[in-house]
Amino acid sequence: MEVFGVPLQALLGQLLLGLVNGSFYALLSLGLAVIFGLLNIINFSHGALYMMGAYAAWMMMEYLGLGYWWSLLVAPIAVGGVGVVIERLMLRRLYKLDHLYGLLLTFGIALIIEGVYRDQFGVSGQPYPVPSALRGATNLGFMILPNYRAWVVVASLVICLATWYVIERTRLGAYLRAGTENPRLVQAFGINVPRMVMLTYGFGVALAAIAGVLAAPIIQVNPLMGSNIIIVVFAVVVIGGMGSILGSIVTGLGLGLIEGLTRVFYAEASATVVFVIMAVVLLLRPAGLFGRER
């Protein structure tokens, strides 16, 4: 069977790959949006922390013999802890200043992290095995579905939707949203806003680390994987706008799919299609698809 002269199997395979990439975009842009909501800072080190998540999994396997499922639990906590330290020691000093300083500071942190990992591990990638429970593929009749890729999409969706639920539907989320609107008033009601800010940053960073662990078996773990993806994620964030949680999930997945489709029909443009879409969105709807005009 063919669609527009492309074998269906190849098309579906690329779409799945697009969905996998889209899951990473969704997880990363969700983390950026959560952090931006409360801290008003664009976390440039998000890509580097995603890379740290992947390396945490690799190092746990290599040095401690701990497998994938342990990393999925421990890596986000460890990297989230790094995030908490960054917030406590550095970001906290910048809240009263122009938000651009937060961007510059986290850019510097990203350079430091990437440089250290490059020195330690070189620029070549390290392979990470697919966990045994998710090896192999399932034949769906119309396509062969690699189990691990399906897992990545499902797991990311579950994490994203759980995050959405916590923020939009629980008391804790209500505090968070209130803190976004008016932190001083929330503090006056007896809520420890600085601690909430710290934990929010840690949580956003943990999301990046989860994405890193999920990505480890698919791509080669290497120090540059973070800076490669973060610029695309910035474009995703500009396209979606950071006003809504569901918006960033939908935009991330959608752009992953579009990238996959582009790879089938016009492979040369697949690296730039997200940026082109960003340019079009800027022309037609500058605030982003789900953003609010300020």
Partner: protein
């Protein structure tokens, strides 16, 4: 003395110091190619600072203007065989045109979004440079001839080229001074301080921002063309996001919104890289990162900014008892 006159005098003193240092640098044994490269980066940082320091727009994609000028210069000199001065003009025009195109999109968002948009647009151009033929892709554009100036003065000699680059640099510095002290520059500062107020005063802020962006991109192009002329090649390194980050750091260290800060910052960074590159390898990136963090946390005014604040304190007449 009134404030503008004091500022004028400060600029004149600074300009003479920079010019003298530039003229004397080869005489005290500094390697001319190194100083030329540093001058090009200094001009790059000044052009970037025109946007960040005076219009308040943080562009995270200025490297592509630097690189596009280098490619344009290489194309016109090596392939088309144009005279050097025409090649430089073409390179500046190419960068300004690219600046108009990207600027038109980028100024539709403000603040942090502006930074993200410029970064993403620059990455798009980077991929374009990677794919197209005339840039030589990953190999870069090699063997750009220096040619002759106005068909007479051969630039192959490093000393001759040095004084040419120095003259271009000083002229551009005067132009930037002229821009920021002009009514246009005053409006830019007003937009930086309070965009809503500038808008309500009737200024077409989008046009001002776009013009500032184009001017900055064009001057960045001048820097890029000179740098390509000095080293004789152009590669993707100049277009990468790391380069956009470096120029931010140069400006930050020297002092955002000061006329000479970016010059000092550029010499500091280029000198540091020159000294460290062979010794510490990938730690250069770590050191640059640490400098970023230190500057943002505790040194936001930069070298020239701190110096200016110190002078300002000394100029204030002391009140009795304090």
């Amino acid at each position: 003395m009134s404030e503008p006159r004091a500022a004028n005098r400060d600029f004149a003193i600074g300009f003479v110091v920079v010019a003298l240092a530039g003229v004397l640098a080869p005489a005290i044994g500094l390697y001319p190619v190194f100083v030329m490269k540093a001058l090009c980066f200094a001009l790059f940082a000044c052009a970037f600072n025109l946007l960040l320091g005076y219009a308040g727009l943080l562009s995270f994609g200025h490297a592509v203007f630097f690189a596009s000028a280098g490619y344009a210069l290489g194309q016109s000199l090596k392939v088309w065989g144009w005279p050097t001065e025409l090649g430089i003009l073409f390179a500046v025009a190419a960068s300004a045109a690219l600046g108009a195109l990207l600027g038109m999109l980028a100024i539709r968002r403000q603040g942090i979004y502006f930074a993200m948009v410029t970064l993403a647009l620059a990455q798009m151009v980077y991929f374009f440079f990677l794919e197209t033929k005339f840039t030589g892709g990953e190999d870069g554009l090699q063997g750009i001839p220096r040619g002759k100036l106005l068909g007479v003065v051969g630039l192959e000699n490093d000393t001759v080229l040095y004084y040419f680059i120095l003259a271009v640099f000083l002229a551009a510095l005067l132009l930037i001074y002229r821009i920021v002290t002009s009514p246009f520059g005053q409006v830019l500062k007003a937009i930086r301080e309070n965009e809503a107020r500038a808008l309500s005063l009737g200024y077409d802020i989008e046009r001002y921002k776009l013009l500032a962006f184009i001017l900055s991109a064009g001057l960045t192009g001048l820097a890029g063309a000179c740098k390509a002329l000095v080293v004789g090649f152009e590669t993707l390194t100049d277009a990468a996001w790391q380069m956009s980050g470096e120029v931010v750091l140069m400006t930050l260290i020297g002092g955002v919104g000061t006329l000479f800060g970016p010059v000092i910052g550029a010499f500091a960074i280029v000198g540091l890289q020159d000294q460290l590159a062979d010794r510490v390898g990938s730690w250069v990136q770590v050191i640059l990162g640490v400098m970023f963090v230190v500057c943002v946390l505790g040194f936001r005014r930069g070298i020239v900014g701190e110096l200016g604040a110190w002078l300002e304190r000394r100029r204030q007449p002391r009140r009795p008892g304090s």
